[in-house]
C-alpha cells in the first residue's frame, strides 16, 4: 500500500491497510456471491414468466407454466417415479442399515471395524460412474433392465455402506439401560430393536433417511442407464430429455418443471442442515 513515504505516522498507514483489506474483502464476497447466484436467478424468475427465454429478465407474472407439467404426457408421471424410487431406496436402505448397524453396535463380531472401513472404502471406489458397465450388465442378466426395482437395488447397494457407518456411530451413543430393562421383561432382540432402540434412535434414522432421499432424488446416472421407457423415468432423466431432444425446447415446461423438481430437495436439505448441522458423506451423487 502507500508505503512510499515512511514519514506519516504508523496509524495512518495501518488504517489505510485496513481500509484496503476491508475493500478487498467486500469485493471478493460480492464477486463470489454473484458467481454463485447468477445461474440460479433463472430458476427463480423463469417459471413465473409468461414468455420465458434463456435470458434473465423481470417476468411477466403468471402461474400458467405449471399447467404445462400436467399437459405433458410424462412430466407429472416422472415426479411420481422419482417419489417411488426415492421411497423404495429409503425404505430398503434404512431398514437393512438399522438392523445391521444395531447388531454391529452391540455385538463384537470379529473383524467388525475392518468390515466397516472396508465397506466404506468399497463404496468410495465402486462409484456409479466406474461401475456403470458391470452394473448395466448385471441388471440386464437379472432381467431387471427397464424396471424401477433395478434402479432401487443399485442405488441402495451404493448407499448402504455409508448409511450403515453413520447409523452404527449413532447407535453407539444410544444408552443401553432401556434395552436391559426390556430384556428383563422378556422382550426378544427384535422386539427390543423395534420398540425400544428405533424410537430412541429416531433422530439418527431421520438423518440417514433424509440423506438417502436427497441422493436418490438427484441421482441421474443410474436411472439414465437402466431405464429406457419414458413412462418409468424419474424427473432427473426426463429433465435431460426435455432440453436435449430434437426440436424447439419448451422453455415454459422446462422452467416450471425444474422448479418443481428442485424445490423439495433444497427445502429438505436446508431444514436438515439447520437441525443437524452440515455433514457431507461420500456417495453416488452424479
Amino acid at each position: 500500500m502507500t508505503m512510499a513515504t515512511r514519514t506519516p505516522s504508523r496509524t495512518t498507514s495501518r488504517t489505510a491497510t485496513r481500509f484496503v483489506g476491508r475493500l478487498g474483502f467486500v469485493v471478493f464476497i460480492t464477486v463470489v456471491s454473484v458467481f454463485f447466484a447468477l445461474p440460479m436467478v433463472w430458476l427463480v424468475v423463469a417459471p413465473f414468466d409468461a414468455n420465458p427465454t434463456m435470458s434473465v429478465k423481470w417476468p411477466d407474472w403468471t402461474l400458467n407454466n405449471f399447467h404445462r407439467i400436467l399437459e405433458n404426457p410424462y412430466a407429472f408421471g416422472s415426479i411420481v417415479n422419482s417419489l417411488i424410487i426415492s421411497v423404495g431406496v429409503v425404505a430398503l436402505t434404512v431398514i437393512l442399515a438399522t438392523l445391521a448397524a444395531y447388531a454391529l453396535s452391540r455385538v463384537r463380531i470379529p473383524g467388525r471395524d475392518a468390515l466397516l472401513y472396508g465397506l466404506l472404502l468399497l463404496s468410495s471406489i465402486v462409484t456409479g460412474t466406474a461401475a456403470m458397465v458391470p452394473t448395466f450388465q448385471l441388471i440386464s442378466a437379472l432381467g431387471l433392465i427397464n424396471t424401477q426395482l433395478g434402479v432401487v437395488l443399485v442405488m441402495s447397494g451404493g448407499l448402504l455402506p455409508t448409511v450403515v457407518f453413520i447409523l452404527k456411530d449413532f447407535m453407539d451413543s444410544v444408552p443401553k439401560s432401556y434395552e436391559e430393562s426390556a430384556r428383563l421383561y422378556g422382550a426378544t432382540p427384535f422386539q427390543i430393536l423395534r420398540d425400544v432402540v428405533v424410537p430412541v434412535a429416531r433422530p439418527g434414522i431421520a438423518f440417514v433417511a433424509v440423506w438417502s432421499v436427497v441422493q436418490a432424488w438427484s441421482n441421474f446416472l443410474v436411472p439414465f442407464i437402466l431405464l429406457r421407457d419414458p413412462t418409468l423415468q424419474p424427473a432427473g432423466v426426463l429433465m435431460y430429455t426435455f432440453y436435449t431432444e430434437a426440436g424447439q425446447a419448451d422453455l415454459r415446461l422446462i422452467a416450471a418443471f425444474s422448479l418443481v423438481y428442485t424445490l423439495p430437495v433444497v427445502v429438505i436439505y436446508f431444514l436438515v442442515n439447520r437441525k443437524f448441522g452440515f455433514r457431507f458423506y461420500g456417495g453416488i451423487k452424479s
Binding site: 438392523l99 441421474f220 442407464i225 425444474s258 430437495v265
Partner: protein, 307 residues
C-alpha cells in the same frame, strides 16, 4: 446419550461397558442374521459388479450384433485396444486437467478463501454466501446443467448480455474452461464447509498472541493456520480428487463435445460402452477407472494413517 459418551473416558468403565455391550442378548449368531441382508445387498450390487468387471473386460461382449449372441474370451485384447486408442489418452489427459483445475485448485482454493474470509462473520452475509454455495451443490445435476446452458446461451444468455459479447458460443468456443468453471460452481460448498469447521479448531489464543506480536494476516495464515489444518487439507484434496474424477455431470452440459474436447474419463466410458454398445471394451476401461479410484483411496488411507 450424554451419560454414555462421558463415561468412556476412563479405562475401567470402558472395560465394564464392553462386557455389557450386548444388552439385548443378541448373541453372535443372531447378530449375523441382522447384518446379513445389508451385506448381501452390498455384495450383490457393489462388490460383485466390481469383481465381474475383471472377467467382462476380457470378453468381446456387445449390446447388439454377432458378438452379442456369441461372446468370446479375448484376454487382454480390450486393454491393448484401449492403450492404442487415441480417444483413451485424450480422455485421460482431459481428466487430469479437469481434476487439477476444477477440483484440486479451483474448489479447494475458492472453498478455503470463502471459509477464511467468512470465519469471523456472523449474521446474514455469511448465511447468504454459504446458502448460495450450498444451493449449487444441492440442486440436481440435470437442472444445474440446464441453468448453465441458459446462462451461456449464444443468443439470449445472461453472460453475453453482461459481458456485452453477443453471439459468443461459450460451450463451443471454450468447452473445457466452461465445464471446469461449472464444476467449481457445483462443488465448492464441500471445501468451504470442511475448511470452515477446520478453521474453528485453530486456537484463537495462539492467533491473538501472534496478532499482538504484530504478525500480518499472511504470516498468521502460513505459520499457524495451515500447519494446524494440514490433515483437513489432505482429506479435502483426496475426497475432491475422487469425486471430480468420478463425476458424470459435465456430460449433461456438453455430452463430451464438441469433438471430444470435454470427453473426460466418465463420459468416455459411457460413450464407448453404452453409447456404442461395446460392453466388453467398456468393462476394460471401467476396470482401469476402478484401479485409479483404488489407488487414490489407498493413498488416502496410507497418508492418513501415518499422521
Amino acid at each position: 446419550m450424554v451419560s454414555t459418551r462421558s463415561v468412556t473416558g476412563t479405562g475401567v468403565v470402558r472395560a465394564r461397558r464392553n462386557r455389557a455391550d450386548d444388552v439385548a442378548g443378541l448373541g453372535r449368531a443372531r447378530a449375523g442374521v441382522f447384518v446379513a441382508p445389508a451385506l448381501l445387498m452390498i455384495g450383490m450390487f457393489l462388490l460383485f459388479p466390481a469383481i465381474w468387471t475383471i472377467y467382462l473386460g476380457m470378453t468381446d461382449f456387445r449390446l447388439t450384433g454377432l458378438a452379442a449372441a456369441h461372446t468370446s474370451f479375448v484376454g487382454l485384447g480390450n486393454f491393448t485396444a484401449a492403450f492404442g486408442d487415441k480417444a483413451f489418452w485424450n480422455a485421460l489427459q482431459l481428466t487430469v486437467v479437469f481434476v487439477a483445475l476444477s477440483g484440486v485448485i479451483g474448489q479447494s482454493l475458492l472453498g478455503f478463501s470463502l471459509a477464511w474470509s467468512l470465519r469471523r462473520l456472523k449474521g446474514w452475509v455469511r448465511t447468504l454466501v454459504e446458502s448460495l454455495a450450498l444451493a449449487a451443490w444441492v440442486i440436481p445435476g440435470s437442472v444445474n446443467a440446464f441453468l448453465w446452458i441458459a446462462l451461456l446461451d449464444r443468443r439470449d444468455g445472461t453472460l453475453n448480455t453482461l459481458l456485452n459479447t453477443p453471439g459468443t458460443a461459450w460451450l463451443i468456443s471454450y468447452p473445457m474452461a466452461m465445464i471446469v468453471i461449472f464444476n467449481i460452481w457445483v462443488g465448492t460448498a464441500f471445501s468451504m464447509q470442511l475448511f470452515s469447521s477446520a478453521l474453528s479448531s485453530v486456537s484463537p489464543s495462539q492467533l491473538e498472541s501472534a496478532q499482538i506480536a504484530g504478525a500480518s494476516e499472511f504470516r498468521q495464515l502460513f505459520d499457524i493456520v495451515l500447519p494446524t489444518i494440514k490433515g483437513h487439507i489432505l482429506t479435502n484434496t483426496l475426497m475432491i480428487t475422487l469425486w471430480t474424477f468420478n463425476t458424470f455431470t459435465p456430460f449433461l452440459l456438453t455430452a463430451g463435445g464438441p469433438n471430444r474436447k470435454t470427453e473426460i474419463f466418465s463420459v468416455y466410458i459411457y460413450k464407448s460402452a453404452i453409447g456404442s454398445g461395446q460392453l466388453g471394451f467398456g468393462a476394460a476401461i471401467s476396470m482401469i477407472m476402478l484401479l485409479i479410484n483404488l489407488a487414490i483411496a489407498l493413498l488416502y488411507m496410507r497418508v492418513g494413517r501415518k499422521r
